[in-house]
Symmetry: C2
Subunit: 330 residues, 2 copies
DNA sequence: CTGTTAGCGCCTTCAG
DNA sequence: CTGAAGGCGCTAACAG
């Protein structure tokens, strides 16, 4: 591959001059510039960002750690990040943990070894090892999706959103409300959303009967399974069900339909996430829009700010959300 | 940031020795090794892949150029790639064109400047400038989704798939078949799928009446619009509609429902892509599964092979597909 | 088993 | 306006 040295030789100037032309820095005579440009053109020379980075200590690459690469949330979030990052000349280096907690740490190290300028960690859990690792890292990190102590974080307001959802159901007159959640190890999605549900019911003196609270994993089938169980296990059937993600809700919808129960007449249903799908299932699913793209771009902004100004170390940003009330709910 | 030099000094050995223990290459006395490891531990030293790359001429990074970052197809494809690439220690550097053809070329250059070991181009169009650029590139490139002359490519068998779809409709007894396509600039999705439709109708002496062929862009609303137009413009209403993507089909579904026409009784509907959504709309949408993940991992394999063996320069791989016949079709 | 030496491709003073 | 020199952090002969 042709290097700056080759160009210099061919253009009959020094490497310095070539560098000046390429980077438009310092004085170069029009004459010399023309010669250099010509050779660059001929040879198809492309300067090595790599070598440059070694000198300048900047790679213009941001590492993004994802729990799962192929989910609607991930792709929205990454899209938002890319929008912001590309504006500033950064590119995204992907790292996928596949929900494996060990890999989170590995990837943190790996990205640091590649000398990325910053890391955005789309997090699903918080544990001491991870926090330790982050604090020992020499690269700025921003967390997205979980509130990490003393790490700048962009979070969704999971507790409030879930409270609002539950209250909405109650306002609509529902007194028997079922819940489909996920493991509490996921503080945001698992713990906070369930806590909100429980708190609001309690605050309204509403009971939670046997079978009304089900735990699932992040996919449609599991939501379906959970709903079936709820139907079987509950002595009194809920008139409304709150599922912590749209996919879970859609799974539940399948189960409800299969049991020949009417939505929303007999059971109202609401999810969270505003997935594309939610708008096109029948009936249209009520849900909460979390604005994932924006969360992504905000995380990117936070990170860029941190890179440039070494900003304070623990900015927190809580995203807004919107309830989307649609046909699945009366 | 601590460097190999610091470690060497602190451990009282030479940089070479440090390098040897880090990379587990060559002989090092247990004694020296222990000392080095200890210092590494203490300092949290992480070798710079960057500097290493400069010497070894390998970055272990693959550039992936996407037409759109936030689509189901993209995320599936990237997922497949990552699965294969991560096995071999490669990471993905993302580049998003947002369907801007100029950016394809820019990104090709940019990725080369970053000295990625290879590039996978998820392509939506083919033009001379692009082909030129690719051929002048010094980095191995694999195309995915379009058959690029003398570039190793992984393609879907768009023509056959669309033929099969059309034939299926005819076998089911449909003689009046509408079509919702996209711009022919997209050779795979726009041109080939439409050609298949036209060819098969011709081969069966079936007419294409006014209004039966509509052109849309890649989103649900546009599919809806196109279907509305079809309904308005056609003197005889088709009994089946073939949309070239699921999202278009789902848009069409909306339009058909809105017009109070029964699916599939009055109009049968089929798409392509096996999107998640297709399974959960009502009625369940018939479609074609293209196995995007596999396409991604195959593209990755092709590229890795090319990197390692400098394999021949124009392997073509045509992906299999499966018709998924569901409730939207009788 | 270990250290010395010489770059990889680029930028950046510092002298002309 | 231009070039020489030095070094970013690391590996890879080549001698000990």
């Amino acid at each position: 591959m042709v290097t700056i040295k080759d160009i210099a030789k061919m253009a009959g100037v020094s490497r310095t001059t070539v560098s000046r032309v390429i980077n438009n820095s310092g004085y170069v005579s029009g004459e010399a510039r023309k010669r250099v440009l010509k050779v660059v053109e001929q040879t198809g020379y492309v300067p090595s960002e790599q070598a440059k980075s070694l000198r300048t200590k900047k790679t213009k690459v941001i590492g993004v750690i994802l729990p799962k690469i192929s989910t609607e949330t991930s792709s929205r979030v990454v899209n938002g990040m890319d929008e912001e990052l590309s504006k500033h000349g950064y590119q995204i280096l992907l790292a996928n943990t596949n929900l494996n907690e060990k890999k989170e740490i590995e990837h943190l190290r790996l990205l640091q070894s590649r000398r990325v300028d910053g890391i955005i960690l789309v997090a699903t859990n918080i544990n001491d090892k991870l926090m330790n690792e982050i604090h020992e890292l020499k690269v700025p990190v921003v967390a997205l999706g979980q509130d990490m102590p003393s790490v700048p974080s962009v979070v969704y307001d999971d507790y409030s959103a879930a409270c609002d959802v539950t209250r909405l159901l109650i306002e609509k007159g529902h007194h028997r409300i079922g819940f489909i959640g996920v493991s509490e190890k996921d503080r945001a999605v698992g713990y906070l959303r369930q806590k909100a549900y429980v708190d609001v019911l309690k605050e309204n003196d509403l009971p939670i009967e046997e079978g009304w609270v089900q735990q699932a994993v992040f996919n449609i089938d599991s939501g379906c399974e959970a709903m079936k169980n709820m139907l079987i296990q509950s002595k009194v059937r809920p008139t409304a069900v709150f599922a912590v993600t749209d996919r879970l809700a859609i799974g539940a919808m399948e189960a409800i339909k299969e049991a020949n129960i009417q939505i929303p007449k007999e059971i109202s249903l609401i999810g969270i996430g505003a997935s594309d799908m939610s708008m096109y299932v029948t009936p249209r699913l009520s849900t909460v829009d979390y604005e994932n793209e924006k969360a992504g771009s905000e995380a990117a902004k936070l990170l860029i700010n941190q890179i440039n100004n070494g900003g304070e170390n623990s900015r927190k940003l809580s995203m807004k959300y919107r309830l989307l009330i649609r046909d699945s709910l009366i």
